[in-house]
Amino acid sequence: MNLASLTISRIRQGLLAKEFSAVELANEALRFAEAENPKTNAYLHFCPERALAAARAVDERLAKGEDPGPLAGVPVAVKDVILTRGVRTTCASRLLAHYIPPYDATAVVRLERAGGVILGKTNCDEFAMGSSNENSAFGPVRNPLAPDRVPGGSSGGSAAAVAQGTAVVALGSDTGGSIRQPASFCGVVGVTPTYGRVSRYGLTAFASSLDHIGPFARNVRDAATLLGVIAGRDEMDSTSAFAPLPDYAAALGESVQGMRIGLPKEYFAGLGSETGGLIQQGVEVLKGLGCRVQEISLPHTEYAIPCYYIICTAEASSNLARYDGVRYTTRSGEAPTLIDMYRNTRGEGFGAECKRRIMLGTYVLSAGYYDAYYLKAQKVRTLIYQDFVRAFEEVDAVVAPVSPFPAFKLGEKIDDPLAMYLSDVYTITGSLAGIPCMSVPCGKTSEGLPVGMQILARHFAESDMFRLAAAFEKAGSFFA
C-alpha cells in the first residue's frame, strides 16, 4: 500500500475488503507522517490518541456491518487555526503555543462523524496572515516539490501534507487566497467554498466577513467528498447559509460540453510568464472538452488588493483584540498595571505581520479615517461583487490563474510586505465577492514547479465548479 497516493475511495475499498483495518491504517499513516515531517515541517504536532480513537470507532462500525461513513478511515490533517477539543491549537503563534481548546470546530465534528481520522495539526502563517507560511512562529514550511521554496500560505502546512502524501486530505482556511495559492504552489486541489457554505464555528477569527474553511485533496473527487461532509447550515454560526446541500460527487464525470467559460482580460494582461503559457494551454484543454470560451471583463480587479487589505486588517484588528493576556495562556511577566500587561503581552506575543495588520486595521478604523478608508473599501467591495454578478450573466464559470508566479524561494519576499500582498492579486477578488473558487493543477514549469488554474463559479454553484475541474483534471492528466 502506497500511503502517499491513497484516495478516499481506495481506503473505503480496502476497509470493506478487510485488506486493512482503520486502526492499522491510522498507525501506518502516523508513522509515515511523523517520519516524513522533518522534510517540510508541515505538521506542528500530531494527535495519535485522537486518531486511534477515531479509527477504532470506524472499525467498530465496520464490525457491526454499519456504513462507516464517507470519510471512513481517511487520514486528515487540520490547519492549526481550526479548534480541536483537547488537542493543542496554536494558530502558529507564540501567544497560543500552549492553548488547548475546550470545544471542536463544527467542520472537525462533521469530518470525524463521517469516519475521518485526524492525524495532527498543520503549520500556517501566524493567525492565517501571510502568503508564504514564513510568518509561522514555529518555522516555515518547505515546499515538498522544491525544498528551497515556500509552499504558499497561509495554509502552507495543509497543502504540503497533502502534496507530500502525509495526509490524504486536509482542512485549510482561506481569507484572501490562503487555500488556493498554496494548493497551486504544491500541485494539489484546493477549494474555497461559497462564503457561509461551511460553518466558521471553531475557526479562529481573522477577518470574519472573508474567512472560509475549505478542503485540500490530491484529486477533485476527494475534495468534493470532503466539502460535502463539512458543508451545510450550522446554528452555531449565524452567517452559515441555509442553501440546500447538493451531492457534489454526483456532478463529477458529467459532460462540460457547451459550458460557457469567461477569461477575465484583466487577469491575463501582463501575464506573459510561463504561468500564463500553462494557463493558456489549460484553456485549450477546456476548448477541447467543448467549453465555449469567451473574453470577459471584471473592470474593478485592480482595486481588489487595496480594498482587501483595508477590510481584512480592520476586521483583524478587532478580532485579535481578545489576545490580551487574560484568557489565552500567555501573559507578559513584567507589568505593573492592567494596560501595560495587555500591551506587553501583545507586543511580545505577536509576530511582525500580525502587528503590521493590527496597526493598519486600527489606523483605518480610527477617528477621522473611517470614511476615507474603511467605508470607501466597503463600497469598492460592492463594485467588485457586481463585476462578478454581471459576468455570471454571460458565463457559467470564470477561469484564471491562481498566482502570477509559481512557488518563490524562502526569504525572497519576506522583507517586502507590499510585494507579498501583491502576490494575492488573482485570489482576492473571489474572496471579496464570496463566490466559490478553487485551484486545480495545470501542469508544471520547466523547473518542475506546479501551476494551478483557478475556477470561479456563481454563489453556491460548487457543483458546476467541481464538474468543470473534474473534466479538466481527467482531460489534462494533471494528477498531483
Binding site: H98, I100, P102, Y195, S209, E235, S238, T239, A241, F242, A243, H300, Y303, P306, C307, Y309, D324, G325, V326, R327, Y328, T329, R331, A335, P336, T337, L338, I339, D340, M341, R343, R346, G347, E348, A352, K355, R356, I358, M359, L360, T362, Y363, S366, Y373, L375, K376, A377, Q378, K379, V380, R381, T382, L383, Y385, P417, L418, A433, G434, H459, F460
Partner: protein
C-alpha cells in the same frame, strides 16, 4: 508621508501594542508604503454605491434566530483552563483600582 512616527505611536497605543523603537521605525515605513498604495481606491467614484459589510445569502430576517432554550455551554473550569492566572473561579489580572 502618509503617517508620521508620532501617529504610529498613537495607533500602537490604540492597538494596545508595545513596540520597540526599531519596530516603530520599521512600522512607520511599512504603513506609509501600504497607505500610499491603498490610496488607489480614491481613483474610483463611489458616490451612490452601497457599502458591503459582508456577502449575504437569501434567508428570512428571523431565520438565524433560535428558540430561547437554556443549554450547557463551556463550563467555568473549562473556560479558566487556559488562563495564565485564575483563582476563585475568576480570571486574575493586575490591580486595576488604587487604594
Amino acid at each position: 508621508m502618509k503617517i508620521t512616527e508620532n501617529e504610529v505611536r498613537y495607533v500602537a497605543a490604540l492597538s494596545n501594542l508595545t513596540l520597540t523603537e526599531a519596530e516603530l521605525e520599521r512600522m512607520a515605513r511599512d504603513l506609509d508604503e501600504i497607505l500610499t498604495y491603498v490610496d488607489k481606491l480614491n481613483e474610483l467614484d463611489t458616490s451612490g454605491v452601497e457599502p458591503m459589510a459582508q456577502v449575504l445569502f437569501d434567508a428570512e430576517e428571523t431565520a438565524t434566530l433560535r428558540d430561547d432554550i437554556e443549554r450547557p455551554t463551556v463550563s467555568n473550569s473549562e473556560a479558566l483552563a487556559n488562563a495564565p492566572l485564575s483563582g476563585a473561579g475568576c480570571f486574575k489580572v493586575p490591580k486595576v483600582i488604587e487604594r
